[in-house]
């Protein structure tokens, strides 16, 4: 029985539930190991007048103190734009900017040393808002535009026009395992670095870059992460590079583990956005034109902000065909920690913007927002090209809308919500059904490649290594299943190994939901090459063994259930491991390197035109909320999710991505709020004050399902990526809150819709609806 499609437990599940799974800080301390931390700026913007580490150096147990001057290589780095200084030189640009690296024998010595370091900073005017950055023209990268049709003309001829601004806050990743790395010095300046990173190759390259080493001197190893969500795509490089610096300079193993409060304060998160929109539509609710200007808060350095903006812009259409559209995107620079990748990568901000617009159109016209959505939904045969020119093929969106509305009993419940709100003096209900169409592939074409190493051992067991990193999403389990099926063996005989730059070089980040697509594709390629060679051997061997009955025919060789046979003589079976042995004796290679590059991608990174995505993952969700009119406290009564994720490689794992993504998105749009002091210091830097969803926040009724769709043959095993798209379905919760408020107010709402935000909107409600 093939393992693809089966609900196999996560390959680390047993280790997780018994506490045996190892993370970076679970590695035993090596003899002579140093603990590493750093002194970071408490000032958001300032000029460094002086740095005095003499008192710190005198503290017993302090082994080394380093500033930028001690870096053997380049201090300046960055994944897209090289604008970031690992260690501050003359200027600090955000709270959390590392200034002095501290290495010591104990945490206590680190604490004392940090207090003893004296950094004199002249404070400069900081920029903390998108408006202030716009005014100061302080940007990161270039503004970009997607343009289609005759926007100005469409507005002139419009029957209805709406305009407004929509804002959303940032979000902390709140991965449970904070940023962590251990660097072990090797011979001749070589380093082995265990890093909790989504991107071992980038960590490797940055370490080599800042230490002035050739890349081959640095090996980066990632067993697993205790969550990442984009937060360890670029920002895992800083701690790893700092630990590597200490290991190289002192010759001692060096460990750095951020505590939760530091991690939350000094690393960036999801980008806040502030978007201005104008939309033209008919009295029937057909959108004729939209002009959206996206402004994001990129923080102090570029990081991935320009790319995040690109995804926001390419998701501003979401599920809707808008014939005339102009979308601009500008990344504003501020004195916050650099914002970075976060599950959805700009997509959520783009999609929420258009979903808010649709709710606004429906309010203006007094219609059901779902009617507006379905009326504007991408067509199957026409009205099916995105504003950037990519056709929407295999379009299941109309079906998803219809089926999700049916399964969730949307129409009946919408009527019930209205009745409830007329009668209840204590509570308000709201309901909304929203969609997602999420483009799969890195927007940046060259990143869509992967390599894999497959080794078959003499007992028939198999090891697979790829550049994919495991952060809980189950990519390794899926890759193991794909390889098992390729070799016709049981998935339990295939081990997916620790990720290491020594085995897989120049890899892309585990990101963009596409790690299983890319690395799975590469692993299948490698396994297939091995199988091809084994097929030759099997054909010959089985023919010889048939004593003239069969001629050798590779086309007739079958690998299944751990056995190999010629389909013309299925009674005579070789065990897979017997064939392995035969191959070995015949000196046929049982190891292979596979490669995968996504086909069909074309993208003009300046004009913003082309086909940046291989396919789209789609879905719909209907959510209903209940709000206490007196306290603003909200809970989700029911959510129904229906997705198109192609053919699932592992239903249990995919389901977990859907429930997890949805709840994480709900957190972003409801209770997760980053609050800052006037100095720019984050106040909500621990779970006491930063409230991610709790188990009690899970919708009381939570239905998750997907449609059967085998048409996505462009991807491995006709599957679809599932990591990010469900997060955007949580927009249904936010729209349901907006819907509830619209019964008693103008319905205006920003994100996150905290209890406070809701109550203050209710306090300004229309007088006639006040009870």
């Amino acid at each position: 029985m093939p393992s693809v499609g089966r609900n196999i437990p996560h390959d680390s599940a047993r280790g997780h539930v018994t506490g045996q799974s190892k993370y970076v800080d679970d590695l035993p301390f090596a003899r002579n190991e140093l603990i590493v931390d750093f002194y970071w700026s408490r000032v958001a913007h300032g000029r460094i007048r002086s740095v005095d580490t003499s008192a710190a150096a005198a503290i017993p147990g302090v082994a080394a103190l380093f500033t930028y001057k001690d870096l053997p290589g380049q201090n300046l780095f960055g994944p897209i734009i090289q604008d970031e200084l690992l260690l501050a030189e003359r200027e600090v640009l955000f709270i959390g900017h590392p200034i002095v690296v501290i290495a010591a024998d104990s945490r206590e010595a680190i604490r004392l040393a940090r207090n003893a370091i004296v950094v004199d900073i002249e404070e400069l005017e900081p920029i903390f808002t998108i408006d202030a950055a716009k005014k100061a023209q302080w940007h990161l990268g270039e503004s970009r535009t997607i343009r289609r049709g005759e926007v100005a003309a469409a507005f002139q001829e419009a029957e209805e026009i709406l305009e407004g601004q929509w804002r959303c806050g940032g979000q902390d990743h709140f991965y449970l395992e904070s940023q962590a790395a251990v660097a072990y010095p090797g011979e001749h300046d070589a380093l082995i670095v265990h890093s909790s990173t989504q991107n071992p190759s980038e960590v490797q390259e940055v370490i080599a870059h800042v230490l002035g080493l050739p890349i081959n001197k640095v090996t980066v190893v990632t067993k697993r992460m205790g969550g990442a969500f984009g937060g360890k795509e670029c920002q895992a490089t800083h701690p790893a590079a700092i630990a590597a610096l200490v290991a190289l300079k002192t010759g001692r193993p060096a460990r750095i583990v951020y505590n939760k409060d530091d991690d939350m304060q000094i690393t960036g998160g999801r980008h806040p956005f502030q978007n201005d929109y104008r939309v033209a539509f008919t009295r029937d609710g057909l959108i004729t034109a939209a002009a959206i200007d996206f402004f994001s808060d990129g923080g102090a350095y570029a990081d991935l902000s320009t790319s995040v903006m690109g995804r926001a812009m390419t998701h501003a259409d979401n599920a809707y065909f808008i014939p005339n559209m102009e979308i601009t995107g500008t990344v504003c620079r501020t004195n916050f920690p650099p914002n970075t990748a976060f599950r959805g990568f700009g997509g959520p901000q783009g999609v929420a913007t258009i979903e808010n617009i649709i709710e606004e159109i429906a309010l203006r016209l007094g219609r059901d927002p779902l009617e507006i959505r379905m009326k504007n939904c991408y067509g199957v045969d026409d009205r099916n090209v995105t504003p950037y020119g990519q056709p929407v093929t295999n379009n299941t969106l109309p079906r998803l809308f219809t089926e999700c509305a049916e399964r969730s009993e949307y129409y009946a419940r919408r009527a019930e919500v209205a009745r409830f709100n007329r009668e209840s003096k204590t509570h308000l209900k709201g309901i909304a059904l929203t969609a997602v169409k999420f483009g799969i592939s890195f927007n940046t074409k060259f990143l869509n490649q992967a390599n894999a190493l497959v080794n078959v051992y003499l007992d028939g067991s198999v090891q697979v290594s790829t550049g994919a990193t495991e952060m809980g999403q189950g990519v390794n389990t899926k890759i193991g299943q794909l390889v098992a099926d390729e070799l016709g063996v049981d998935a339990s005989t295939v081990l997916v190994m620790i990720t290491s730059t020594e085995k897989n070089n120049n890899t892309s980040a585990t990101a963009a939901s596409s790690a299983a697509d890319l690395n799975g594709g590469a692993a299948v390629d490698a396994a297939r090459r091995i199988r091809t060679r084994m097929t030759e051997v099997a054909a010959g061997h089985l023919a010889a063994a048939s004593e003239g009955e069969l001629t050798a025919s590779t086309a007739d060789i079958v690998f299944a259930e751990g056995q190999v046979y010629d389909r013309r003589s299925a009674g005579r079976k070789l065990k897979f491991r017997e064939l392995v042995k035969i191959c070995h004796l015949q000196r046929v290679s049982l190891g292979e390197r596979g490669f995968f590059a996504t086909r069909g991608l074309e993208w003009d990174p300046v004009a913003y035109v082309g086909t940046p995505f291989r396919y789209f993952t789609k879905g719909c969700a209907a959510s209903e909320v209940l709000i206490d009119r007196f306290t603003g406290m909200m809970r989700v009564l029911r959510s129904d999710i229906l997705m198109d994720i192609g053919r699932s490689i592992n239903p249990g794992i995919d389901r977990g991505q859907i429930t997890g993504g949805f709840i994480q998105g709900m957190g972003w749009l409801t209770n997760e709020e980053l609050r800052y002091a006037e100095s720019g210091m984050l106040l909500t830097h621990s779970p006491t004050t930063y409230k991610i969803p709790n188990i009690q926040d899970v919708p009381e009724v939570f239905n998750v399902d997907w449609i059967d769709n085998a048409t996505n043959v462009v991807n491995v095993a006709a599957s679809k990526a599932v990591g990010e798209p469900p997060l955007l379905l949580a927009i249904s919760v936010w729209c349901a809150i907006k819907n509830a408020l619209s019964f008693v107010s103008d319905g205006k709402l920003d994100a996150p819709a905290t209890g406070e935000e809701i109550l203050m909107r209710l306090a300004n409600q229309k007088p006639e609806t006040r009870n």
Partner: protein
């Protein structure tokens, strides 16, 4: 006198003295013993990743009863006389208990970092039960945060567990031999010294008062749910700590027709349990009031916090957003304080003199909290409210208690206490005066809300703006009216 704390970890005896006794249990497990299954994330009891089981002798003294606590905010020394079970000890080597098995097959673990905490917390729930309802699962796992799964697979896993086939901590680690060792060792008081720090665990009240009188200030470390946080986050290292765990009988909770009486070391969980088990007329006002208190306790911190934290601790901490205080204020609770010169009783309404300023002498200990209950047949309505950013496992932005005594529809007495709107929990005499003698109408409570809003002067902080708090103070009277007093009952779906 002893200078070593005694505890069992996964059945193995450990004697801890000196610096290690002052280390957090989570650090001790991970970095001293190398048992890294227990994870440290927030270091403030707000995520549950470090959850372990702590077994203490039950009331019979013959069995250990295991409860989930956060090991990141417990120091090793305060666990003297307990049996600790970590994720590594839930099942024999290479085996899985029923919870672990269900978490594997239901995809309850993704990244795995929260998983040990969840597995331990879930196992704790099955120590005493065979099956859980979905609400019990949610309530029981409120203290654990997961960022990957969206919890749904974890709920499914818990619902799939058949506890009757479960290897339980109390079965895996027989109580009798451990209790024998504990009984022999912990008969005497404990004093652990390290550098300038001392941790004492007296076994009698006399000793406790003696310690608290002779060297001041001695900080009482009971649940440690706040001190542990202060230690981890602000580097607080009080030189003199005292645990009252060794004093027998101080944890008693008693409920009778007239009085709720809570001992100085009774945990919030014990209080919750006592209320649940209390048999009384469902229609009596006392029953209603206790049920109201149980609701508030149900959203106090998390099970792990309630298993460690005490009512006395919540009172002594003196926070203006302490969840139990509005209740105690409007119920005119009294505190029994025991010190060198004996015992005195102070009304809680006179106990706070300012922000964290208490009417408590350095030698005094809160030994009992007395809450008079309304006589049966009286006509009373009590509303307790907690508003926080997240309903569960959150610290209040605003709290309130409104208590009315009525005859027909006339208010004969009113008590109102608001928290989170000033440096201490505030009684609102002007609002009480406004309400007293009046007939219940919507307009009356509108005016009460507006008056309350004018009378307070809240600050803006990370838990809410001033305007938000003003609005809540106004609205809470409206809420009370519509949900508790309005003649034709509304649908109350929340």
């Amino acid at each position: 006198m002893r200078n070593q704390a005694l505890l069992f970890i996964n059945g193995k005896e450990h004697r801890v003295a000196g610096a290690e006794a002052f280390d957090t249990l989570s650090n001790y497990l991970r970095y001293t013993l190398g048992q890294t299954g227990t994870k440290i994330v927030c270091e403030e009891g707000d995520c549950g990743a470090c959850t372990v089981l702590v077994g203490r002798p039950d009331s019979s003294g013959k069995e250990l009863t295991y409860r989930a606590v956060n090991s990141c905010i417990q120091i090793v020394g305060q666990l003297d006389g307990t049996s600790v079970v970590t994720v590594e000890g839930l099942a024999p080597p290479r085996e899985l208990n029923a919870v672990q098995q269900a978490m594997v097959s239901c995809h309850g673990a993704q990244c795995g970092y929260c998983t040990p905490g969840f597995v331990v917390a879930m196992s704790a729930l099955f120590e005493t039960r065979d099956r859980l309802s979905e609400q019990e699962v949610r309530d029981g796992l409120t203290g654990n945060l997961c960022r990957c799964t969206g919890y749904e697979p974890i709920i499914k896993a818990a619902l799939a567990v058949d506890g009757s086939r479960m290897m339980r901590a109390r079965d895996l680690y027989p109580s009798a031999p451990m209790l024998e060792t504990i009984g022999a060792h912990c008969r005497d008081s404990l004093t652990i010294e390290h550098g300038e720090r001392t941790l004492s665990a007296p076994v009698t009240m006399e000793q406790a008062i003696g310690i608290r009188s002779e060297r001041a200030p001695v900080i009482i470390l009971q649940g440690g749910t706040d001190l542990g946080v202060q230690a981890n986050k602000r580097g607080l290292r009080p030189p003199l700590l005292m645990s009252l765990n060794g004093i027998k009988g101080l944890d008693e909770v008693r409920i009778d027709a007239e009085m709720l009486s809570v001992g100085g070391t009774a945990t919030l969980a014990a209080l919750e349990t006592a209320i649940r088990l209390h048999a009384g007329s469902v229609f009596s006002p006392a029953h209603g009031h206790l049920a109201e208190l149980a609701n508030i306790l149900g959203i106090f911190g998390s099970p792990q916090i309630r298993n460690a934290g005490t009512l006395a601790g919540n009172i002594a901490n003196g926070s203006p957003i302490a969840d139990t205080l509005p209740f105690l204020f409007v119920m005119e609770a009294r505190l029994e304080l025991t010190g060198r010169s004996g015992t005195r009783v102070v009304p809680i309404n006179a106990f706070y003199r300012g922000y964290k300023q208490l009417d408590l002498e350095p030698d005094e200990i809160i030994t009992r909290i007395l809450v008079p209950l309304p006589p049966s047949g009286s006509e009373e309505t009590l509303g307790l409210y907690k508003v926080s950013r997240r309903k569960d496992l959150d610290i209040s932005s605003f709290t309130a208690a409104i208590r009315l005594q009525t005859t027909a529809r006339t208010i004969t007495a009113a008590s109102v206490a608001l928290g989170g709107v000033g440096p201490v929990v505030l009684r609102m005499p002007s609002v009480e005066a406004l309400l007293k003698g009046q007939t219940i109408t919507q307009d009356l409570f509108e005016r009460a809300g507006q008056l309350a809003r004018r009378e307070i002067n809240p600050i803006s902080d990370v838990r809410g703006s001033r305007d938000f708090r003003l609005q809540l103070a106004e609205n809470i009277f409206r809420k009370f009216y519509y949900e508790r007093l309005e003649p034709r009952r509304e649908m109350r779906e929340a």
